[in-house]
Amino acid sequence: MTEPDAVFSLRGISKGFSGVQALSGIDLDVRAGEVLALMGENGAGKSTLLRIINGDHLPDEGEMRLEGQPLRHSSPAAAHAAGIRVVAQEPEIIADVDVAENVYTGALPHRGHRYSRRRAQAQAAADLDRLGFTGLIEPSRMGRRLSPAQRQLVEIMRGVLGNPRLIAFDEPTSSLSDPEVDVLFALIERLRADGVAVIYVSHRMSEIFRIADRIAVLRDGHLVGSRPTSETDERELVRMMVGRDLDALFRDDDRARGDVVLTVDDVTTEDVSGISLDVRAGEIVAIAGLVGAGRSELVKAVVGETRIGSGRVLMHGKALKLRSPQDGIRAGIGFAPEERKQEALIMGRSVRDNISLAGLDRLTRWHFVQRRRENELAAGFVESLRIKTPSIEQQVRKLSGGNQQKVVLARWLARKPELLILDEPTRGVDVGAKAEIYALIQRLAAEGTAVLIVSSELPEVIGLADRILVMRAGRIAGELPAGASEEAILDLAMTHEPLSARTESLPLEAHS
């Protein structure tokens, strides 16, 4: 049953980890010039499959063929040499070298035996231009100064350079905003035209339908099936992924709005200027905008993480003195940051410890943690948020992305903040968990919590928010009512300066 024109094929691939069967009997073909989308909930086995393709893991059973030749590579280097690339979702970027060196690591341009920085810069500029990334990223920028989007672009460059036969993208757009996604898709179109086989892993339906020729769905380590894109729809895919129908996202317009909880009054920081906004009790306000528009920087200033140059932040009309996040949190703010692993979770500690972290002071008597109350609290949230974990003692790093995000949410729900700020609450979260998180946010608002959301996913912004604030280059470009169109948001989010001026005042500045 091997397809004659398959560039890459998997037959009967199985892999288990200490008693847990991550993959069983996967058969999959990718043809030349085909974009195969791979979908599935977190924990379905997509990452394991990519690691096997990448040579990070050896399969227990089954075989891989590239252009008819059996492959049994045992390291990422061997996979790379064979023409296989996996573009990682969370790329490893070397902090202290520039973009060019990050891209060409392992094959640095040289003159004689010496590394030639000039040559590397020129080559990087040429490659950026060829890939259509010019203006989005500068070859000389240091790794540590790159925004998440730019880090992703560097990783994509690493993947497409050379002469790849198969490229697998692992959620490449999770940190990209729409214009960058367009650039990436144009690039994928070109790869398709060049006869490269492409595997595209994503949770985003709209993207999958835009780019993929065929869609394969994994569930619990099994291949549920694959469909040509033209013969399927969202509903069927979701059913294949979760094994049940999910209710569509409905906005609840009947919520009662209370008094103003948060007021941001003409706040200026290093990254944003002249921001004024307010959020009422029971209201969901979303901040939309391109990556780098200053959205995360704004909410970090509101919670007290970054210094405010001028202007005031008020809770219930009382100006806050924000020296550290502790001050914001004491004033009743909860904040789930954008980078779950780096900024929110203590990966080596248990689910329980992570849930109780922000509210530990309320669970103590004479500094002694009341273990029973703490256990009840954690177990309660594990149940009510349906966090999939064998026990509350489980280390958080062993959980899937969606469940990790629920742990972060549980941490703040446990504190019962009056204002909850969520930065990219569903990034890297599978559809099932996403729907649950949306329902949770709406329930919180219905109970009177003021919610401020930063999101790059426009359907999410439109579906959830009562008001949408659009940021551009550190300022609020405009406000839109509930249910605004994607076009209206994008129109405000994009700069309208001529293209030549854009390279100077890039909306994609990285902030260290």
């Binding site: 203590i346 248990s350 273990r371 974990t389 064998p390 280390q395």
Partner: protein, 348 residues
């Protein structure tokens, strides 16, 4: 330790969600003791068996007391080092700080007309100040903890030598309080061992049962996340270093009591490395966030028994250092391999 071991039961993908029933009884015992501690206990048992077979006199209360007294000073320092390492710091100035504490306790004792209480209080006060200096350099001067305390290791040693003019100071050998610390005992257990036990028990309780301890683990595990969860991490870092200075001075007082005079260098030099060795051997990850007092105490005892054995066998005492170093490397290698670390590049 227990969080570490529950993972290894391999039930990470339980689809039924949380369960109240835990693993088997044997598993629970191992969880309670900790795998790391289990291997230390095993090493200790082997060592004791080897020594005991050849020298039955090893099994005597007198010999236990010798070992206990020998490890008590290094023990208190190792316990505090454990806290610092969990916080993902390091304090290598403790040896020098102990020297300052020793000199100050003896000199204040002498100049106040043999007031032992004042001498001890003064030493402890100076210890806190030395620790605060460390903490402030690290937090407000933004200096890497190793570099900062390497600098104060040299500086505090100089302070001790300047204060004492490089000589042993005072004579405390006839003072009741100092004699009680050095040679006294409470219900048959030497005072020095009591001090070690008390410091270890307090540290254990704080780490394990209080929000302070939990926040220390959180800061060591991910300082950004800890700060964004509302923990005042600067206060914790400065606080832990201050207490470490206090305990270093306590070690200095113990040195004064044991030697009968204030010793600027001779009693305290090299203690910092032994303390770090014991903490690492006891299972602290030097990148922070992991470790426990029980492991450190076991490691301290193991090192003490090792030294004792070397003395009993009449081996050239210079082998002590070789044996300590080898033990540390073996322990860390085993620990890393069990974590499934890939052998690529610099270890994290």
């Amino acid at each position: 330790m227990s969080t570490d071991t529950t993972i290894k039961s391999g039930r990470s993908a339980d689809p039924d969600g949380p369960r109240a029933t835990g693993p088997s009884v044997g598993r629970r015992v191992i969880d309670a003791v900790g795998v790391q501690n289990l291997s230390l206990l095993f090493a200790l048992a082997v060592l004791v068996a080897i020594i005991g077979v050849n020298y039955p006199s090893f099994f005597s209360v007198a010999n236990y007391q010798v070992i206990g007294k020998a490890v008590s000073i290094i023990g208190v320092l190792a316990v505090m080092q454990t806290l610092v390492i969990i916080l993902s710091g390091l304090d290598i100035s403790v040896g020098s700080a102990a020297g300052v504490g020793s000199v100050v306790s003896a000199m204040v004792f002498t100049s106040t007309g043999s007031n032992a209480g004042l001498g001890i209080l003064a030493a402890l006060g100076v210890g806190i100040v030395l620790g605060l200096i460390n903490g402030c350099i690290i937090v407000y001067g933004r200096v890497n903890p190793v570099v900062a305390t390497l600098a104060t290791l040299a500086a505090y040693k100089g302070v001790a030598q300047l204060l004492s003019d490089g000589r042993a100071q005072g004579y405390t050998g006839s003072n009741d309080l100092f004699v009680f610390i050095a040679r006294g005992s409470i219900i048959g257990v030497p005072t020095l061992i009591w001090i070690f036990a008390l410091v270890a028990a307090s540290a254990h309780v704080v780490l394990r049962y209080t929000d302070i301890g939990r926040n220390i683990y959180a800061i060591g595990g991910n300082d950004v996340a800890a700060r964004l969860a509302g923990i005042n991490i600067n206060r914790y870092i400065v606080g832990v270093y201050a207490v470490t200075g206090l305990v270093a001075a306590l070690a200095g007082i113990m040195i004064t009591a044991r030697t009968g005079s204030g010793q600027p260098v001779s009693g305290s030099e090299g203690l910092e490395l032994q303390a770090v060795t014991a903490a690492a051997l006891g299972g602290c990850a030097l990148q922070g966030g992991r470790g426990a007092i029980a492991g450190t105490v076991l490691a301290v005892v193991l090192l003490g028994v090792l030294d004792n054995g070397i003395t009993l066998f009449g081996v050239n005492p210079f082998w002590q250092n070789v044996a300590r170093g080898s033990l540390l490397v073996i322990a860390v290698v085993i620990q890393q391999l069990r974590n499934g670390e890939r052998r690529i590049g610099m270890p994290t």
